[in-house]
Every structure is written in structure tokens, then in C-alpha cells.
Symmetry: C2
Subunit: 406 residues, 2 copies
């Protein structure tokens, strides 16, 4: 049976970059940039006043001058007027461009301002600037015109949106959102709005997968097929051709009603693997349609579906939005209690996570009654990946962690 590492490698090998589209900046949050963005001007674009106060020539201060007449006042957004008299000063506001003839700023807190009967104002500098450029945010000191600011592949958060706005990128080339079909199977399932008979339950995996796909920027549509070969053969081919990914839950075990692998193959999907050396989720089937969707056929027990989605499908849905699909490095957490797990399977152990005052992420195993125990997900923040080779895991061990909650 395939190891988790081998399955991961095979899933990753199918990731191809999605096409691109252009969106207005206001809709770009959470999307992945697919063009590099460069500085259109220097950052800052001018010698920028960093404090409210007066601008003057440092040479005058260096020569021992303490009292300066104010020639005029300059606000941010005004074109700078030069300093005419190098022994005078200009009252000036944060964000303004330094006027020609000035090279240092003294903030109000370090000045005394006096006004005579004719309205002429003078300032006495109490704390002199230490050199040219004092309280000046120098042109190009942060970034130079033409410098790369945001490489293609950047996930656009609030800071990136602000940078794009600054350089006038009102429209952004981003990855198209992955199109996901979510398919539930299982004749025991009824709609959320229905009252189930005693031996029935309501559908929940489809809603879970739709919500989870939204979290990584995908658009997800839900479908339901009955557990018979004809229903699956009739419905699957269109989905395999129209979507980037098809997420199925249920129908991949060894049961008599588990027609999915056969139906997928007959619908044109090629099996890449079936069954992984893991719990939960051993019957996971993975494949692809040569001209269409990648297929994650997840086991139908809710914890299996959930954990395997976050372990395999969510990273894939993120990766295909990148110009060169790459997968994020694992993060780690510290096991807080001893754990024994005997089967020769990689174990995805549900845990709640706490940031400890030692700066460590502590993982507390959550009690679960197996992969049917949907409610065991509620107190959990993610799952640890316990390797198949060992049975004993001691408190204090550091293990890869997959988070589904922050």
C-alpha cells in the first residue's frame, strides 16, 4: 500500500497552474497575483517630511544659528515652494515634499514659536538636528523605481493591496479561482431541510467541502449521486470535463455499493492510486481525467473526508493558483501527552492547539470515537501527522501539524 509521502508526491505531481484573469483591486483580497508588480516611482517618491515642524538648511544650524524667521507654511499635497533665504525656515507638515533649499526638519516639540506685532513669526530651535536628512524620509530610501515589489505568486492580503494601490495597479492579473465540484454519494443521506428516517442521516460532507474550498479561494458547486453505477456513469463525465477538481466523499471502500472507482474509470478518469497507508482515510482514491479534473475521492466517514481534504486537496487547490505550483513547508507542534498508535499506518491525530508562553505550539489530542465522530472536529484545531514506522509517541515530541482553524 502507498505511503502518505508517496501519495503526497503523486498528488503534488498533478498540480498545473490555472489560467489567469484580471480583477479590480477592490476584489483582489485572497487572490494570487500572476504578474510581477514593480515600483512605478521611488519609495518615497520625494524627500518626504517625517514630522510636523519646520524645514531648514542644516548648514545654518551647523554654523550656530538658533533663531529662524518663517517664510511661509507648506502643507502635505502642496507643490513645494523653495526657501529663499538660507537663514530662514519653512513651517511644514508630515507628508509634504521637502522644499528646495532645505534638508532637515525640526519637529514642533523641539521648537519655540514666537510672533511679533506685524505677524512675522520666528522659531527658536531648542534641539538642533544632528545632520542633513534629519526627520526626512529620503527619496528612494525604501525602494527604487523599477524594483520588484510583489512577485508573481504572491497571495494578496491587506498589505499587498495597499502596495498595489500605491503604484496605481487598479486592475490586477490574478489566478482564476479553482472551480471545484463537490459530490456526495450515499443512499442513507437526505437533504439538510428534510427530516431523516431512523436509518437515514442528513448530508453534511458536501457543505463542509464547499465551505472549506471557499477558504482557499475556490468556487464550489455541490452535486449528489445515488449509490448506483448508472447514476454515477450518467453524472460524472460532465463534471470531470468542466471542473478543475472533483471532490467526492464516500463510495470508495470495499463495500458492495462502492461503485465509484469503477464509475470514475468508465467516465474517463485514470486512477493514480487507491488506498493509502493512513488512518483515517485508507480507501482514498486519487486520479485525473486526461483533459479535465483532478479527482479526490475521499472516504465518506466525516472525519476521514475532513482530514484528507485538508491533508491533500487544500494544499493542491492553493498550489494550482501559483505560476509554478509549489507546496507550503510543513509547520510543527509539540505533542502535549503520550500517545500510542499500533497499526502500521500514518495516523492523523485530531488535536487542539495552544500557543504556550514558551513560544511553542502545544498539541492536545482530542478524544474521538473513530472517523464517524463528526463532533470530534469541533474542539479540534488541526491534526498531527504521526509517522507509520512507530507506535509510541512521547509528550514533548515535535511533529508536523496541519491546521484547519486559527
Amino acid at each position: 500500500m502507498l505511503s502518505v509521502d508517496e501519495a503526497t508526491r503523486l498528488v503534488q505531481s498533478t498540480a498545473q497552474p490555472l489560467h489567469t484573469e484580471t480583477v479590480p483591486l477592490a476584489q483582489a483580497l485572497g487572490r494570487v497575483l500572476r504578474e510581477p508588480l514593480h515600483a512605478d516611482r521611488d519609495f518615497p517618491p520625494f524627500d518626504r517630511v517625517a514630522m510636523d515642524g519646520i524645514a531648514l538648511s542644516y548648514a545654518a544650524v551647523a554654523a550656530g544659528q538658533q533663531v529662524f524667521e518663517i517664510e511661509h507654511t507648506q502643507f502635505a499635497g502642496q507643490a513645494p515652494r523653495p526657501l529663499h533665504n538660507p537663514q530662514a525656515a519653512i513651517e511644514i507638515m508630515t507628508g509634504a515634499a521637502m522644499p528646495p533649499g532645505t534638508d532637515a526638519v525640526v519637529r514642533y516639540e523641539d521648537l519655540l514659536i514666537a510672533e511679533d506685532n506685524n505677524g512675522r513669526r520666528t522659531v527658536t530651535v531648542q534641539v538642533p538636528p544632528t545632520g542633513p536628512g534629519f526627520n526626512v524620509h529620503r527619496r528612494a530610501s525604501d525602494r527604487q523605481q523599477g524594483e520588484l515589489l510583489l512577485p508573481a505568486g504572491t497571495l494578496l492580503g491587506p498589505a499587498e493591496v495597499a502596495v498595489a494601490a500605491t503604484i496605481g495597479a487598479a486592475q490586477l492579473l490574478v489566478s482564476r479561482a479553482p472551480r471545484v465540484a463537490v459530490v456526495s454519494t450515499g443512499d442513507e443521506l437526505v437533504e439538510v431541510t428534510e427530516t431523516p428516517l431512523p436509518h437515514q442521516i442528513r448530508r453534511s460532507n458536501a457543505q463542509m467541502l464547499q465551505a472549506a474550498a471557499q477558504q482557499v479561494g475556490a468556487t464550489a458547486e455541490a452535486f449528489h449521486f445515488n449509490d448506483d453505477l448508472d447514476s454515477l456513469r450518467a453524472g460524472l463525465p460532465a463534471l470531470l470535463q468542466q471542473f478543475d477538481a472533483v471532490l467526492l466523499s464516500g463510495g470508495v471502500s470495499k463495500g458492495k455499493a462502492d461503485y465509484l472507482p469503477q464509475a470514475l474509470r468508465e467516465s474517463g478518469a485514470e486512477q493514480i492510486f487507491h488506498e493509502v497507508q493512513q488512518r483515517p482515510g485508507k480507501p482514498f482514491w486519487f486520479g485525473r481525467h486526461p483533459q479535465g479534473a483532478v479527482v479526490f475521492a475521499l472516504p465518506g466517514n466525516p472525519v476521514s473526508t475532513f482530514v484528507n481534504y485538508f491533508r491533500y486537496a487544500a494544499p493542491w487547490l492553493r498550489a494550482v493558483q501559483l505560476p509554478e505550483p509549489t507546496f507550503a513547508a510543513p509547520t510543527y507542534a509539540v505533542l502535549a501527552t503520550d500517545v500510542v498508535f499500533k497499526p502500521k499506518l500514518t495516523h492523523f491525530l485530531l488535536v487542539s492547539l495552544q500557543s504556550s508562553p514558551t513560544g511553542q505550539l502545544l498539541a492536545y489530542p482530542e478524544r474521538a470515537h473513530g472517523s464517524g465522530d463528526l463532533a470530534s472536529l469541533l474542539p479540534s484545531d488541526g491534526f498531527l501527522e504521526l509517522p507509520a514506522e512507530r507506535e509510541q509517541f512521547a509528550a514533548g515530541e515535535v511533529l508536523p501539524v496541519w491546521r484547519f482553524r486559527w
Copy 2:
């Protein structure tokens, strides 16, 4: 001057729960539940078959029987038919309800199935069940009918959506989304689509705050006012009355064009504090309108705006969605290099974060040229909070961290 802790406490004291609204389950992701949800039935609602195989009476196995005739086959979703002959068995699929007369399941892997010429099928049990309930997910073993599943105040992620679906909660009572007005000021600012003059720059804080507010489930509208008292007095009163929060950037320093505190007071907002012992963001002004919005008037330098939004406003916007506003406990990271910061101010230090193979979150300080250096946000994942009382911070110290990226 107010300490960061005092400012935090005053900001928190203004958090009042927002009203509620009802949304369909498909739109509930990221919202905060405002009603408790209880189990409508037992979880699982019946003794549920956990493996594909045969169901039988354990008593027969205990009496030494190994070969069983198969009476019929039962799929998931079918009403269970009883086992007539206690020495026979029923072929059965995962997810089905246990038939009356059976109490244990033997999976296919532990059976041999034979069929005679008349189509009668028998199984030989090779690995006997160890007791009643074997491979059965017992009714009510996870949760009992009436048990609280999701308390009011739960943030709805994919797992919570699945649980709501299972109990038939097709409509959910959630917190109304916080309504946020984002206001930029500053005469040096032009629109993203305009080409700035040499002494102008494009607006970016408004786009940043709008995007950031979206991330916590708020709806945000943007406004711009010129830096003069009349414009502010004309525009602010309506915003203070119509929104839950008004986020402003710029206009709160000691500059000549910094009319905001006066304009806010004249528009009906009460000042709660002005200036906090922190960098960046010392001129932060905070207040509220008695019948309206809470006002976060953030300093306009982009790093100040950004950091103070995440330090004060984002937690507030999350808290007011809860039935009893509470603020999340801080998380911690380990400083990776020595840092010296001499001013008697709490320092919000931009850092990139890495999950180390020791399970620690390591914080690497990012070089920044002060609070005007917008681009310094790009490599940063968050900021450490260095207390005002000390100047020296050694590599290895554990400090509170505020993340804006995961």
C-alpha cells in the same frame, strides 16, 4: 501618556454585541453563531455499521459457530430488516443501521464467502469479533440528543457548517456583519487610477483597511475627506450615526492640518483617549459617538495605520460579533535576534515568522525605515509587542505576537 495596556482596556470596554440576523447555511462560513445548536438526535442516531462485511449475533460466535448463511444484504440508507435465524448473518455496508437480532460486524477482510449452486451464500468467519458492539459505532456514543454542540459565539468554519447540516440547521442565527466606514484624509493623496504629481502619492490606507475589515467578516465602505475643518464637519456626522465603527487614517498628529480630533468632537464623538505610549502610532485617537460608531482615528503613516488596525481595531471587530464580547488571548513567538529599542514606548516590531522544527514560532525582525515604509510590510507576517519598560531584548525571549498573515 496612556500605556498600551490602558489603551487596550479602554478600547475593549466599548465593545457591545451587534444585533443578529438569519442566514442560509451556505452563507454562514466565517460568521459568528448567535444561538446555541443542540443535537436533534443521538450521534450516531442508530447503531451504525462501521465496516463493510456481515452483521451477526455475537452469541453465536461465542458458542463456537464459524460458518453462517447469509439471509440477505442490507445497504446504507435501507430500513433494516431483522435477522430471522440467530445462527445466520446479514451482509451489510458501512453506514447502515444494525438490523434487529445482530450486535457485531465482521469485515470482509476477516471472512471467506462461498456460494452454492442454488445461489445460497455462506461465510466462514476467520477472525471472530471480540464481543458485542464489534465494528459497530454505537448509537449516542458521540453525543446524546439534546446535548449542546455549538454554543452561541462559535465562529463558523467548515466543521461547524457540517455539524449544522447534520442537525438540519438550514438557517442560522448569526451576528450581523460589522458595518465599517473607512475614511482617508490627506490633501497629498490622489486616487489609485490617477497619476500623482511629484509631491503627491496615491491613496493606499483606505484600500488596506477595507481589505483588512473584510477578513474579519465586516463590510467596509470607503470615504475621503480633504484636510479642512469644513469638509470634515460636513461629512463626519452621518458616518458616526450610520456605522458601527469608523476607521480613519491621518490627521491626528500635531500638524497644522490635523483637524480630525476637533472635527470628531464637533461631530458628536467623545474622545476616550488621544496618544498612546507606543511606536508606531503614538498619535492614535480613540473615541465614540454616544448613539453611534466607535472611532479608531489611526495615524496616517501606512505602517502606523496597519499595525494599529491589527492591534486595536481587528480584535474589536471580532469581539462585537460575540454575544458577550471577549478578546482572544495573546499568542507568543520567540525573538530570533537581539533587539535594542531605547524610547520609553511600547514597540510594535515588524517580524517574519517561521515554525521551527522545535515546535517554536521564531520571529525575525524585518528592516524598516520607519512608519512611512509601506513596503516593509511585505516580508512581514506580524509584529512583536516589546514592552515600554525595557530597552534590550535578547534572542530567545518569548514575546506576544500579533499576526496579520498565516
